[in-house]
Structure formats: C-alpha cells, structure tokens
C-alpha cells in the first residue's frame, strides 16, 4: 500500500489504469446488463461494477480484468434483481410463458422458440450458455467468471450445450 508521500503519485497511476479499464470495457459491461435486464438500467449497473473495481482495485488481476468485471457484474446483477422482484410484470412480451421474476434475462429475447428451449435447461446451464454465446467466453475466461477450474468450465459448457441441443430438438419435434 502507498506511503503518505507516494500516495499522490500512486493514486495517479491507479487512476490512469482505471480510466483505461473503463474505456476498454464499458461496451462489454453495458451489453452484459442490457442482455439480462431492462436496457435503461444497463449503464447504471455497468457504472456500479466499475465503481466496485475502483474500490477493489488492489484485487483486480491485471492480466484478467474483463473476467473479473464479469464476475462482479454477476453479483451486481443478482443484488439488483432482488430489488426488482416486487415489480409488476407488464413488460413481458408473452405474459404467462415467462415470468420476469423467474428469468429476467429471457424477457429481452424475442425468439420464442429459443426462449422456450432456454427456459427448460435450468438456470445454471442457461447462465453458462449466455456467457458463452453473448459474452463469447470459454476456456480460462469462462472458468474465472464462473469461479471454477478450467476443466470444470470446459465440462460444464459442453454439458450445457448438449442439454440445449436436446431441449431444442424436443421443441422442434411436435
């Protein structure tokens, strides 16, 4: 930690690093939240994640910033959702098929067949699939975001993809 005399220059370096982090990853974080909830909340939530990154800047691994941000975003989103549970569900396109309280991330998805298949794979697999398909994560990055080992992440992703294919296949055969 910086001494008194070095605090000013230490903070300036931190600020330069932080500014770069925000500039580089703003789009990714805003999209993350816009994919999983109301678009009007996305920037505020992204800003919250960056504020956390500043407070916890000593812990952010310099070589894996984005996965750390995504992981923090997951917690930020969970905290945010529990405040939304009591809101009315008037925003849902197909009221009755998907309740906002259950799957807020799916309400942004207008492909009804896909939404149905995703709804049936379970919350954990869905989370992995969205991180893979929309955030483009796999391998070590996915492992960091999920907080599990690399081989665990590979296995979890492989199973999630298989389950989605199975659920998809079932929906198509009627």
């Amino acid at each position: 930690m910086a001494d008194g005399a070095d605090a000013a220059s230490g903070n300036a370096d931190d600020l330069a690093w932080f500014t770069e982090v925000v500039r580089e990853h703003s789009t990714a974080l805003v999209r993350y939240f816009a994919r999983r909830g109301p678009r009007q909340d996305a920037e505020d939530l992204a800003a919250d994640v960056f504020a956390t990154a500043w407070r916890r800047r000593d812990d952010v691994p310099r070589h894996a910033v984005l996965p750390w941000l995504y992981r923090t975003a997951g917690f930020t989103l969970a905290n945010h959702r529990r405040k939304l549970v009591d809101l009315p569900v008037g925003e849902v396109p197909d009221a009755g098929t998907v309740r906002v309280a259950d799957d807020p991330e799916l309400s942004a998805l207008f492909d009804a067949e896909l939404r149905g298949a995703l709804a049936s794979v379970g919350e954990r697999d869905r989370r992995i699939l969205l991180l893979h398909a929309w955030e483009g994560l796999d391998g070590d990055e996915l492992a960091v975001v999920l907080g599990i080992s690399r081989s665990g992440a590979d296995a979890a992703l492989s199973r999630a993809r298989k389950r989605l294919r199975d659920a998809w296949g079932e929906r198509l055969s009627f």
Binding site: R35, H63, I148, D154
Partner: protein, 435 residues
C-alpha cells in the same frame, strides 16, 4: 474447441444471433462520468476488510457440525486445522496463505482471437492443443500491437549454460476408478455409487435438481461438484421477495473446507498454497488451492465456493503428478533466441497496461480523418522489447493425444514489466511433426 455441428441447426449459433444487445454502445461521455464519480469519492477509500478471526477455537466449534460430512480421516484433518498454515493478514478481500510460491508459467496466450496484420505470422493455437486459450483477459476485439504486432527482442547477460530440469506428468488413468470418485463424493456428502457414462463419472442427478459430482475423463481427471441447495440466491418459485440474508463465511472456514476436500482425495493439504476471495455483496466465499511443485504453483488449481450452509461448488483435478525425471533444457540465451524463432513464439503472457493503445476514435470532429497525402510514410510500428530477467519454472502442456505434462519453461520479463514465456526443453525432446 469449436463445435463442428451444422451452424444453422445449432441452437447456440441461433442464440448468438439473437443477442439483444448487439451493436449497443454506452452513451458518449459514459467513461468520463464513471471516472469523475470515483475521483469525487474519498481519496483513500477503505478496502473491504477480510473477516478477522480472533478466536479460532470458537470458530471451529461452531463449524464442527456443519458442511462436509467427511470420511473419518478427513474429519481429523478438519479439527486440527490451523497449526499447519498461517493466515496472511491484509486489508483486502483476498489473501494469500503461506510461502508466496512463484506463479505458474503459461506457455500459451490468447493467440486464436487476434486479427492478423500484414507481416505478422498467424499462429493457430488450436493446432497445438484443444485447450489453447490459456491466458484470460486479452481484449478479443481490439488490435493489441504489443502482443500481436512486430516485436524485436534484445537481451544481454543471459546465461549460456544448458542443463537439465525435472518434468512431470498428470496420471489421470491411475486415479480414474469408482473407489477414488466414491471417496471424493462421500467427502462432499453425496451418497450413491459412481456411474461411468457419457465420458465421465457421475454421482447424483446431473440435471441440477440436487447435489451432484462429475468427473471428466480428461488428462487431469477434472471434477466439478455443485449443490444447488446451498445457493443463497435460490428462492422458492412463488416467493414474492427474494431476500437472502447472512454473511459470507470466514477465510479460515473456507480454507479449512478446502483442505478437508484436498485431504479426502488422498493428497497432502500442506503441498498446496491457498488463496481466498470474497466479493462485495456476495454471500459466499471462494478459495483456490494451488498445488506446489518445486516451490512453484501449478495452474491446475482447485476451487471451492462456500456458502453459510455448506459447499456450493467445488472443482479440481484428481490426477496425481508423477515425476518423469530430468529433461535436457536449453540455456537462457538459447531460449531467448527462440523468441524470434517462428517455431516457438513469442507467447506474451502478461502485458503492461501502458503498452495497450487507446481505441482510435474516428469522426469525433464530425468528419472522417484527413486523407493521407502523397509521400506519406506508412505507420509501421515495431516494438523493441528489452528482456531484463529470466526465470526457469514449470508450465502446463497439453499433448494432442490428451495427456497433460508439467514441463520446464522460461519466463522472461521485459523492461516494461511484460512477461514472455518459452518452453525450455531442448529440441531433441520436441516433436515438431504435424499429425
């Protein structure tokens, strides 16, 4: 590891195409607002303090009747606890326990995602091993001149002595049996017999309805465990409010839980280094256990996430490492020369932030950039990289046949603080053939 299924019928591709935020950008000024917000906060914002444990005995007594239903051997380890390691006290939410062993060296960087520029050799990382995206964090849609650009290397004073260094292999096959998997499952509180199917061992339902363990038949015999019952965010389906309360477990509790698990798998818990993290707003705490070999961490770590009610998820590698004896290695100088050899690299593994360029912003003045005029020289940046330090360590290498080894590798540090890795094995130990 791309899926070779027909893209049109693959629901993952359809999901990708259905991205509701495609093309979305934050409003102009977003970055400035965020930065301004943190600079108006107190200059020395207090970091999140890790839970200070003042009474270890009381802590263990409270813990004794919770969490893991451990086998008898592991139970004795749980009770003994603290004498074998020291808890590092810092002010941040993440602490390192014991030693401070050297970090693992990574031989592969995120090469596969970079766009290619003229004159830059395109190395196809997927030809090396299936799991080739080793180093997280590199921006995937940005041109990073430091890593992908044209690099010229300089060094002086590197050792010219070659020699030998030990190498190791992960022996997954010996560990892959119902007995081992069963012992791990029992330590995690699972009843049920391990079943071999779908490319792995399964204990418990694999559909997420209850706690389950899965062991993959890969080169490190990786396992993953998940108990949805302990997810603090799991609420009743018809609940009107989801308000999980509680606190994240302490670092001591989490590390003890991890040590018990490591011991239950037949390993020596003292041969690992432990780090623990708790995120702001989280009701769970994560622990990582890094196996130590020759005073260095290896990157096949174990993970465990602990909630107040028990272990939420855990993963690791069940394969033990076996010594392969000593392998001939090249000198530091020869390894340095490999940085300029297209057969080897260079693989940058850490990049100083100052080397990353800010994204070029066009059109901010309301018109496109000025046309270059005749006689203009092309911008053709070449990075001069000065290597100042070399370290011999261990790196994980995946064979194309699926086996996994720990091999000697050099880590070079440059004057700007970036690191570059090169395999240290002599040419005689490398099979350069394809297929």
């Amino acid at each position: 590891m791309t899926d070779r299924n027909d893209d049109e019928l693959d629901p993952v591709e359809r999901l990708r195409a259905a991205d509701p935020a495609a093309g979305l950008e934050p409003r102009a000024g977003f970055t400035d607002d965020v930065v301004a917000r943190v600079t108006t906060e107190a200059a020395d914002a207090p970091a999140v303090a890790s839970a200070a444990v003042t009474d270890l005995a009381a802590e263990r007594a409270r813990r004794r009747n919770r969490w893991l239903t451990v086998a008898a051997v592991a139970a004795s380890m749980l009770v003994v606890g603290g004498a074998g390691y020291a808890v590092g006290a810092t002010n941040t939410g993440s602490t390192t326990v014991a030693g401070g062993a050297a970090p693992p060296i990574s031989l592969e960087s995120g090469v596969g995602t970079a766009p290619t520029e003229m004159g830059v050799p395109e190395t196809d990382a997927s030809a090396v091993a299936p799991q080739s995206r080793a180093t997280p964090g590199f921006g995937s849609d940005r041109i990073l001149p430091y890593a992908w650009g044209r690099n010229v290397f300089h060094a002086s004073g590197l050792s010219t002595e070659d020699g030998t260094a030990p190498a190791y292999a992960y022996d997954a096959r010996s560990a892959s049996n119902a007995e081992n998997v069963g012992a791990l499952a029992a330590a995690l509180g699972l009843t049920g017999t391990p079943e071999l199917k779908d490319g792995g061992w399964a204990v418990g339902p694999q559909d997420g309805t209850a706690a389950s363990l899965w062991v993959t038949l890969d080169g490190t015999l990786g396992f993953s465990y998940w108990d949805p019952q302990h997810d603090p965010w799991r609420c009743a389906p018809d609940a009107t409010a989801c308000e999980p309360t509680g606190t994240a477990p302490t670092e001591v509790a989490a590390i003890d839980a991890m040590r018990s698990l490591v011991s239950a798998s037949g390993r020596d818990a003292d041969a690992f280094e432990y780090t623990s993290e708790v995120y702001e707003g989280s009701l769970t705490r994560t622990v990582q256990a890094w196996p130590l070999i020759d005073g260095q961490r290896t990157d096949q770590g174990w993970y465990l996430e602990l909630a107040e009610g028990g272990v939420l998820n855990a993963s690791g590698s069940l394969a033990a490492t076996v010594s392969l004896g000593d392998y001939p290695i090249v000198s530091e100088q020869e390894a340095f020369e490999r940085l300029s050899d297209p057969r080897f690299g260079p693989q940058v593994t850490a990049m100083p932030f100052s080397a990353q360029q800010a994204p070029m912003e066009f059109g901010t003045a309301g018109e496109p950039p000025a046309a270059p005029t005749g006689g203009t020289a092309l911008s053709w940046p070449v990075n001069e990289v000065e290597i100042v330090e070399a370290r011999l360590g261990l790196a994980t290498h995946w064979q194309v046949t699926g086996g996994v080894l720990l091999v000697p590798a050099y880590e070079f540090t440059d004057a700007a603080g970036g690191t570059w890795s090169v395999i240290a094995l002599a040419d005689s130990m490398l099979d350069f053939g394809t297929q």
